[in-house]
Symmetry: C3
Subunit: 311 residues, 3 copies
């Protein structure tokens, strides 16, 4: 490095760079197209009918085939990485995630985050940052919002820390606040042979467990291509040279992509669960590496009908 | 697995689940877009001019760039897998395959199969299932139809078998029934520099053999991405954990994708053979694995002009 | 190979097949779509705002999101390979490359090359071929033009060589000839938070060096898919069977794709450098193989404002 190197290349925020209440508008708005829908399908294996076929989507009440909910989530999430988690030691969790508008090809997503909590760790080397992130479409409508918290390194151990504030998060998203991302569905037009399963909402009950049977082995080229599709530039996913010297000796697969693979596997058993209304909480309990095989099972914890809707 | 596991996740039909004359409407209709055309091109290496350029396609008489015939085939085939061959021991063959309507971006394909033959094997552990599968567009027009036969395991060896019925298949598709998927071509507008070859129909003669020179090495990430693009969920292509304990110790590459790679290689020597009218028969004579290199050669067995057409 | 093998499969031109002044119209015109933009983004990691978001592009003055300049370059370049460099020993350099019209989804690119120099090597086994290649859109407008020179094998060492002609190439593209591919930009509408950097033209000065920090490891499946996307059929990139016996024992990554990866990395530090007006010269100084990690740095050699423009 010569002395003339300028800091124009961002190194990302460290713990002491965040301030409670701070609002960050993230870079690179993104227009999602039919090309994104195709590539996401080919990288994850999705087979849900409304996302796969214009005819099916329109028959049940959508104006067009919607973009997969998790693709929209990953695109919004990806924008936040450079500003929030470039120096993250760990992604600790997600909560209170709502999908509040459907996303269609042609929509442009952008994202804003607000710092809602900060707590330095006792070793003073890092701290936990809580942000609420919102994804917007080109009309300024919120399409997704969620809270996540990450452990972020400090640039300098001696830097003073703000008073600890830990936000109170709901254990589950209120059912009454859901459903806005899914138009009223014409149940009679919902063709169960085409959708791949005769099982509907009332066929699932609390305590039921579904083994989705299939497994999928992930390759480096696949998760890297997916993570770039999401414009998520976290270096742990891409750089074998540096990761080879790091904690795992390997590139880490973006945890959100693993959720997408599990979601695609869940088609076999939950084929009619074509829309995600909310995610109450999520954690990445173990890292996944290329060559590993992902399996999925689902447990129905509770069922809840949307109020004011009978579809 | 707990006792509450429900059979909502399909395990696929076994030999004794098929009945002669049975009609199966397959799940997940699929709208093909420009995104699918791009990804298929990038995964196979296609360079045929009408499929690559709107301008070329329109100049010779198409209303738009058609979707590659084999992409449409794979998408139709992919839908049949969950219902027909999830428990297949082997894909034995294809025959009597006709392409009867061109497919364009925006078209939605769906598929129906009819069981036209059943024959239990003498060991009673499996049997051969013959199906005629048809692919339809959103107007209900048949775009592709073909027969395939697969060897399918029995769930229980003792299950009674139906009387053996083996359909009589034509050795070759009748030329008179072909051509409907290709509009009349304006030969004068067919630019041989842009298409990549000066050789036309009358330049090829029976007995001629063409070595297509090039070879392409296939990676796991490539065939997995392609097979998901086709929404073909056969587990042998994706799950190294289970296949590692299986017959080959490896994931098997979907044979149809190998045909697509060979077809793309055939551009070098058959650049003007831009449309497949029919496939008389096909067999996968040996498995292909990641790391293998595909080469292709063609032998002209016979030439036949389409009746009533001079283009 | 039987005796009836016909030479319909092209083996590519050897040095003695080129003639000074010769014009070659290349095969396979190509319509670029939103699908190409997506796949290119996912294979390279691009995050420049105008190419990512319709809304951003329109706000600053584009009629739509432009296709990435380097994607257009690779597609034009790819067409020239079968005719110019199939028997190349080495790609020696590029110069005088101008981007003179923006390319948008829906545009169809074709390419023509003219031989502007020939010089046999003293060992008589090969020679250097200089071509000026031009890429056109469907309206016949030049979108890209550049010179490249390649070392091409002779079919027969004894073949006579033409008189040596080496074209004089400019050291740098004249600034006055640039800018036509970029509409006048509305600086006030250029949102620096959304673009990802507050640094504009006037913030960069000669001598400044920017380390783009990040690195990306390239997989075989990724560069093969990208190179097929560009319809570049050079066998060194795809055929492990033959390359395994060759100079490097490995498939070689297309150098243009490496430039695209470096360009995408340069976003971190040059986020507002969203358009490439010209490439003064380029060389591939060392081969890159799968498993290698690409890093990038930029040195500002000189800055020059476009005449007649204040945006």
């Amino acid at each position: 490095m010569s002395a003339s190197v300028q800091p124009k290349a961002a190194e990302g925020r460290f713990f002491e760079d965040f301030r409670l209440g701070q609002t960050i508008r993230h870079a690179t708005p993104r227009t999602l197209t039919a090309g994104d829908a195709t590539l996401y399908l080919a990288l994850t294996g999705g087979r849900f009918a409304p996302q796969s076929a214009e005819t099916f989507a329109r028959a049940i009440g959508y104006p067009a085939s919607p973009i997969d909910d998790l693709l929209a989530f990953h695109v919004v999430f990806g924008k936040t990485v450079s500003d929030v988690s470039l120096n993250a030691v760990a992604n600790l969790g997600y909560a209170d995630c709502r999908f509040s508008k459907p996303v269609f090809p042609g929509d442009t997503l952008s994202a804003v985050s607000q710092v809602i909590g900060l707590r330095e760790n006792t070793n003073r080397q890092s701290g936990v940052v809580y942000v609420r992130s919102q994804g917007f479409n080109q009309r300024g409508e919120t399409v997704i919002d969620y809270v996540r918290w990450v452990m972020v390194r400090k640039r300098e151990v001696s830097a003073p820390a703000p008073e600890a504030v830990v936000p109170k998060l709901p254990e589950a998203v209120a059912v009454a606040s859901l459903g806005a991302a899914c138009p009223p569905i014409d149940r009679a037009a919902f063709d169960e042979e085409l959708s791949g399963s005769p099982y509907r909402f009332e066929d699932y009950s609390a305590g039921e467990r579904i083994d989705h049977v299939d497994g999928v082995t992930v390759e480096e080229a696949e998760h890297q291509t997916a993570t770039r599709l999401y414009q998520n530039a976290a270096k742990v996913h891409f750089n074998q040279f540096s990761e080879g010297q790091g904690r795992f000796g390997r590139r880490l697969i973006y945890g959100g992509h693993v959720i997408s693979l599990a979601r695609a596997l869940s088609f076999n058993g939950l084929a009619n669960a074509f829309h995600i209304a909310a995610i109450n909480g999520g954690r990445h309990v173990a890292p996944l590496f290329a060559g590993d095989t992902v399996f999925a099972w689902s447990e129905i914890l509770e069922t809840a009908a949307l109020p004011h809707r009978d579809d």
